[in-house]
């Protein structure tokens, strides 16, 4: 069964991550390197266990475009999010035994290093992927 694990961040948090202070201080090179090492090990473990289907990180919300459909006509807005609004930042699709196992994987993200002010507020969501199941298979 497949689950998606999602993490979020705001434009402000992205800016801190790439070295620009805003409401909170910027990430140091050590913070960033520790995150990279953690993610590499985390992904490698999921690859080795065969549970990783796909993982991606998204670029900062400021690069997003929104397409709205107003009476059938598409209207495009650049950078539709507020500075402090938390939006999807990255995801993992895992294929594993149970919801509990997917939750266990997501829980390990609690060990992800980062500045203290980021760590205390961070969270990840786990959501089952809606897939077609054959009618007569358990």
């Amino acid at each position: 069964v497949k689950y998606m694990i999602l993490t979020v961040a705001s434009q402000q948090q992205y800016q801190q991550m790439v070295g620009q202070p805003s409401s909170d201080p910027a990430w140091t090179q050590e913070d960033w390197a520790a995150l990279g090492a953690f993610m590499q090990a985390f992904n490698q473990e999921l690859l080795d266990s065969g549970e990783l289907v796909e993982t991606r990180g998204l670029s900062a919300p400021v690069h997003a475009r929104r397409v709205q459909f107003k009476e059938g006509a598409p209207v495009v807005t650049d950078g539709p999010y507020a500075e402090a609004e938390e939006v999807l930042a990255g995801y993992w699709v895992v294929d594993c035994q149970s919801f509990d196992r997917a939750t266990e994987i997501a829980s390990r993200l609690a060990g992800c290093p980062g500045p203290e002010h980021v760590r205390v507020r961070a969270y990840a969501d786990v959501r089952p992927i809606d897939e077609h199941q054959p009618d007569f298979e358990g």
Binding site: M17, V18, G19, Q20, A26, Q29, E30, W32, A33, G36, A37, M39, Q40, N43, Q44, L47, V53, E54, T55, R56, G57, S59, A60, V62, H63, G90, V93
Partner: protein, 420 residues
């Protein structure tokens, strides 16, 4: 007497494309032939380590794969007969591959397979996946890992590619002489893309994908062995070796990117540099001179310099000039501007960059702003450089690159004392 598993694996890997090539050449049916070859390889990987190698491992594999293909064709035939009673299959009719009147040797089989996988009816993504699968012998999972995609997507892409090869009735043969040059271009591009894929730093995840770069080099080596006189094939192999030689110096221990000017050149691989330099030195005078040879020549000039200052910039600027005349590529234009500024000063470089300002292919790109910023700083115009670095940081989407650009911004800000 037992054979070490690693030795068997290495042997199977080098024989795989030859066996697949031979089976497809004999019977056609690219898609089924691939399944049959996989099964033969699997059987060998289980039996050989126990039973010792057969006298002629390749002939053994071809025989087993052929038998398996016959079974597959029979069951396919039976299935089809059930589905549509009218369709008839014959192993000899459309199956026998054309050999173009000349006998193809072992290396040629690998080459023909490579040309087939890069058929123009396939998208670049399919060409890459199919080449890695059929010629490189990588599993769908390995390919998915290398391209950071899902295994299912890769499997589907390969299946569809095989179906469209089958539907188009592409004969298993080298393209006709008049089409050969064009197809070779497609093959070189696919191998170049595989190499770059292995080289690209991935946003956020930082998974090391050096395996793909190694695989691309292995495939170009095979191509070069089959076409030793083609100067662009030599050029591409030289380019890959000369760039790959620097890979250990490219990232700092903390994972950040190190620009070439600041790399520890003692970490560069001398063996690869020597091999690449010999290849390009031999290929250039032979001609005709193409873009891969020129890029290899530029890489060789960088690689032979003890540091950035003693680099032969006039030669690099001249080579970029020739490359620009071969094709109007704005990224080459930027590199040309940087090289010219090292020879004739930042003003001369900025003048060239100015010409690109109205080019929509590059004028909103991070690289355009970053090069302008670098040249403006060289020229002593810190305020304009700061603005350009900010534009570059806004345009960058990769976290690693953003961090690098923000470091430049912070450095300039603390120097001039100007704060936003």
């Amino acid at each position: 007497l037992t054979v070490p598993t690693a030795e068997v694996e290495g042997l199977l890997r080098s024989l795989a494309p030859q066996v697949l090539g031979a089976v497809v050449r004999r019977y056609g049916h690219f898609d089924l032939a691939e399944d049959a070859t996989q099964e033969a390889l699997l059987a060998a990987s289980v039996r050989w380590p126990q039973d010792d190698l057969p006298d002629n491992p390749k002939a053994w594999l071809i025989a087993v794969a052929s038998r398996r293909l016959t079974d597959l064709l029979r069951s396919e035939q039976a299935r089809r007969r059930r589905e549509e009673a009218t369709i008839e299959w014959s192993l000899t009719e459309r199956g026998t591959a054309q050999v173009d009147g000349r006998s193809l040797g072992d290396t040629d089989d690998t080459l023909v397979l490579l040309f087939m996988c890069c058929h123009p009816s396939l998208s670049a993504a399919s060409q890459i996946a199919l080449t890695l699968r059929a010629v490189g012998g990588l599993s769908a999972a390995e390919i998915a890992r290398g391209l950071l995609g899902s295994e299912q997507t890769v499997t589907r892409r390969i299946t569809r590619a095989k179906q469209s090869i089958r539907a188009s009735g592409v004969p298993f043969a080298l393209p006709a002489p008049e089409a050969l040059a064009g197809r070779l271009q497609a093959v070189l591009r696919v191998l170049y893309l595989i190499f770059n894929e292995g080289y690209a730093a991935t946003a956020g995840t930082m998974l090391v994908r050096a395996e793909l770069a190694d695989e691309a080099i292995r495939l170009v080596r095979a191509l070069h062995a089959g076409l030793p006189d083609d100067s662009e094939v030599s050029g591409l192999l030289a380019l890959m070796l000369l760039v790959h030689a620097r890979h250990r110096a490219r990232t700092a221990p903390d994972g950040s990117l190190v620009p070439m000017a600041e790399q520890d050149r003692s970490l560069w691989d001398r063996g690869l540099i020597d091999e690449g330099t010999a290849l390009i030195t031999d290929a250039l005078p032979r001609g005709p001179t193409g873009p891969y040879q020129l890029q290899a020549a530029i890489a060789a000039v960088h690689d032979e310099a003890a540091n950035a200052e003693v680099t032969d910039w006039p030669q690099i600027a001249a080579l970029y000039g020739v490359l620009l005349r071969l094709g109007d590529n704005p990224v080459v234009g930027l590199n040309h501007a940087v090289a010219v500024s090292m020879v004739a000063g930042p003003r001369a470089g900025l003048e060239l960059v100015q010409h690109l300002e109205s080019d929509p292919r590059i004028n909103a790109d991070r690289r355009f702003h970053a090069v302008r910023a670098h040249l403006l700083e060289m020229d002593g115009d810190d305020a304009a450089a700061l603005d350009a670095y900010r534009s570059a940081a806004r345009a960058a989407t990769n976290v690693q690159q953003q961090r690098y650009l923000n470091q430049q911004i912070n450095r300039l800000q603390s120097r001039s004392g100007t704060r936003r």
